[in-house]
Amino acid sequence: MVEFFLNTVKPNFNYWVYVILMMVGLWSLIAKNNLIKKIMGLAIFQTAIILFYVSLGVKDGATIPVLEQVPVEAAGTVAAASTAGAFADGFANPVPHVLMLTAIVVGVATLGVALALCQTIFKEFDTLEEDELLRKIKALPDDV
């Protein structure tokens, strides 16, 4: 057990936690009864994926991707791969940050849409529990 933890889990501990968070979110998305809980699970699922993307860009011993001083001119083109790589190793990979930055803000806008749909459902059926909702929908007359 301890050996398994040290060899398999510890090097990828972050990834394991993201997978667990994703499982928690997915489980609540399928199994929870309340619609607001489902939306919360969706948000947790989303943050787990964003966490995964951001951790792809982590470099050991690197600083934040904001340049403190002007990069040396000799680095020049990417063709000088050795010097360019050595300079770039000092900064975290900015590409996942850019992609996920917009994903978070779009995520809150779509969260608003989901909550608005919840309010409309509540106005129509006076409940947010899934089983009651299904019962009330089945009880509706056919021509509605």
Partner: protein, 263 residues
Amino acid sequence: MNPKFFASLAVVITGFVLLYGVSDFPGFGDPRSPANAGVEGGSPSASLHYINEAYHDTKVPNIVTAVLADYRGYDTMFETVVIFAAGMAIFAILRCVRKDEEAVVAPPAKSSIDGDHNRIIVGMTCRIIIPVVQIFGLYVIAHGHPSPGGGFQGGVILAASFILVALGSNLEDALSRFSEKNYLTLASLGVIIYAGFGVLPQVLGRNFLDYGVLQKLFLTDGPEMARYHSILGVEIGVALTVMSILFAIFANLSSRGTLKGGL
């Protein structure tokens, strides 16, 4: 068999497959991983180009801002459009109240915080703190080049300041400062500013969102400074859209689309 059993089964299988995939990953924080350095023998990762060249191309020290608004400007533009579309969706879902419902929902509105001793501390604190929050939001938008920040963050902070007005006193107070007409106008204006920065280079004979050619317009020395200033303009457009749409979402959600009463 209850449905929770099947849910647990599906989740456990998914989790097991993902955990099996994790064991083949490059180590956490490895600077030589494919995402960070490119495939061995193949072309180097795009991130190396961004880190090495972003400052030469745009004079922006914050690489994230440079990539967000310049290299991947097309992407960011349509993210802004998605936010705008989400706002319009909420408008379509909630903001259609029938005449008879409107009369029922509207509670007797309290005129101001002065007559309500329970809310006076919250109201006064909000009144003092809101200008500070708004100035910080403007600082975050304008200072996105040399430090973390930019249009998205600043826009959210500005929206939070208006939401604070609504929470501190009531929704009518917030709407009298930032009315429905104003926020819809500003949301459209933000998208138009962004698209305008895309179309301007086209008018001058270059590609869409190729800011470098704007140096004739901004009278800057060199295309780099033109890019620098265009990024600021684009961020302002993003901030206007995000601020307006997030406040619109809150105003509609908290009052069930009637824009009366609120929380």
